[in-house]
Amino acid sequence: MIKKSIPLYALESGDAITDFDFIGFTLQYELSFSNVLNMLKLAGIPLKSSDRKDLKQIVVAGGPCACNPEPLADFIDIFFIGEGEEVDLEVIELYRKCRDGNKSKDEFLRLAANIKGVYVPALYDVEYNEDGTIKCFNPKDGVSEKVEKRLMLDMDNSYYPENFVVPNIEIVHDRAVSEIFRGCIRGCRFCQAGFLYRPVREKSIEVINEQCHKLCNNTGYDEVSLSSLSSSDYTEIVALLTELNKWAEDEKVSISLPSLRVDGFSDDILSKINTVRKSGLTFAPEAGTQRLRDVINKNVFEDELMETCSKAFNAGWTKVKLYFMIGLPTETYEDVEGIAHLAQKVVDTYYRCESKPKGKSVTVTISTASFVPKPFTPFQWFPQNSRKTLMDKQLHLKETITTKKINYNYHDADTSYLEAVFARGDRRLCAVLEKACEKGFHFDGWSDCFSLESWFEIFDECGIDPDFYACRERSFDEILPWDFLDYGVSKDFLKKEREKAYNDTTTEHCRLKCSNCGAAKYGGGVCFERR
């Protein structure tokens, strides 16, 4: 495109991106930040918000990584905080009015900041202490000090697309998707989504059923995936699957559940979902020992995992994938070894299963990701393990495994490190991103395009120490870059959860007992279900 001077254009219409009033990005992953800037560059749009002076090409962003928007503060005009179904329409409506009224971009942004769920970074100033931490975060021009997230309380009546663009070329997740609920009751302490999307709100069986059927009819897909965090926590999951199968079986449509917990794997569910492709089953115990699983509040027990694996082996599966994290708070080498021991117990379980496939061996694949502490979790103050520690732990685990029945894959510690820098970074990282874009960085989430060394050079040029963001223990008193955002979960709750974590104490999930996280203030969802 650069060679032939073709500016970036919209996939569906072919229109140049420069001609658009709004350019929106979903921020799913910190390492895609370089892509955001590269796309603006390819489109020929000035990177910095302050260099785009007219009321056009408004660059907006939302999604999970918008919960710490600061590393992108110089580039994005408007961040949507929380769920976007309504707020984007309100902003666009305001834009139309401003355009018709010949208002300036600054006037528009100032008015947009009054809409709940809108964060305009240009309207805030940040001052820093000598030690580099934030001294204060000052709103300008009378805008609100706190920005509160938006959320959809009534899932049944929220907008959900019944028809969408179906690419003619295979994509990832090449199937229809229906969201069955938002949020997660579990409160695993490492999981950002589990805190950002509180409270849990379910869609009714009737609405899901209708949406799934319409989606399949409109797109032609013969597979529909029920999307949510921890799908088996849907209160009436079996009834839902039964209802869906009433038409799905006749129409040869298969139903899949992307996210099953170890303890949610029942025969009832198994018999009703897509069991055609017996390629492998995946579970995520996340940590190797019960103590560490208690620290992260995973609430999965070893015997549950063995029972579930037995069920799967007896039903004909011979491959199991287990996901873990290394570098979790309080982790010892004993916990790391625990991962290998747990995998060995799964192997042993296979050979005890009486109805296992005859004459076949078992393969247990363990994958470890390196833990990245994220904002709005009880571990937001935690220093990430150094890359050396992470690699030592990976090596140690590798050496603990003695059988060929266990495969071990691990996620590169370098990318997790950069992810940790940007996840909890502040506005001073904008200079780094700008430079990275100048140098043509993109697709940093792809290993073939990623080089931590070249990122270190840029940090150096900008006089920034990345360890300050990734590997520094933060105190409870420190003003965190994202403290001005209100996701409904109180900082006091997160502090209490961290204390409990360090005492190996678990917290019961939302349906068993309310832990007063703060999300009840929205007046709906699981907080008001009868327990």
């Binding site: 003619n168 090449d174 399949c216 032609g220 013969d222 040869k252």
Partner: protein, 219 residues
């Protein structure tokens, strides 16, 4: 159960849909149009649709076909109308017939190829192509499924062709062996050209027809 042959064209941006994606695209369209097609009954149940001779990526197809099986009565006209409603505009169904020949009877493909160059004049392109076609042998490297890369002589396959001077280059109409036994991709001629004359040329390929061994149009 009734075997049906669906005839279509593949053009414009749809030239860039690969064979596997075309398969998925057709299955989605069949599902959307609720045409009662037969599903395989094996371990992995899936809708049945096959393509007697797949079209290479980037080629325009004027007479492509797909075989399906109906499990209920469904008019040919309705198949055509309903599938066209569900397919992207670059893929158009123009006829639906009962198959007369078997897929394996396909022996040749007929191509119309527009050949141009950024570097050479139209006259030059034509002259060099003419020279290439008059060589005693035309050696080119061909990827094979088993042995990796093999050098073959494609000259023996230049039996039925017509080369004409055209604006910016040349037009080549050529019939080449196709099907499961011998399959000669016309882009091998491009490869040969680039190998012998060490310069880039563009081949804009349209597959116009498929023939059986008696050079009768495949039906």
């Amino acid at each position: 159960m009734k075997d049906v042959r669906v005839w279509f064209t593949k053009d414009n941006e749809c030239k860039y849909i690969s064979h596997l994606d075309l398969n998925r695209c057709m299955l989605r369209a069949l599902h959307k149009s609720r045409i009662p097609i037969w599903h395989t009954e094996g371990f992995n149940v899936h809708p049945y649709a096959t393509f007697p001779l797949p079209l290479s990526l980037g080629f325009k197809g004027e007479r492509e076909c797909m075989d399906i099986r109906l499990v209920e009565e469904y008019s040919f006209e309705d198949i055509k109308v309903n599938l066209n409603k569900s397919l992207p505009s670059g893929i158009r169904i123009f006829d639906v017939t009962e198959p007369e020949m078997k897929a394996k009877e396909i022996a040749f493909s007929v191509f119309n190829i527009r050949i141009t160059s950024d570097k050479l004049s139209g006259d030059e392109v034509y002259r060099l192509l003419d020279e290439l076609f008059n060589k005693d042998e035309v050696l080119v490297e061909k990827k094979t499924k088993k042995k990796g890369i093999k050098e073959i002589d494609i000259k023996p396959f230049f039996n039925d062709f017509k080369l004409e001077r055209n604006i910016g280059g040349a037009i080549l109409n050529i019939t080449l062996p196709a099907g499961s036994v011998t399959n000669i991709n016309p882009l091998l001629i491009q490869k040969a050209f680039e190998r012998y004359y060490n310069t880039e040329v563009y081949f804009n390929v349209t597959k116009t027809d498929m023939l059986n061994k008696n050079l009768k149009s495949f039906k």
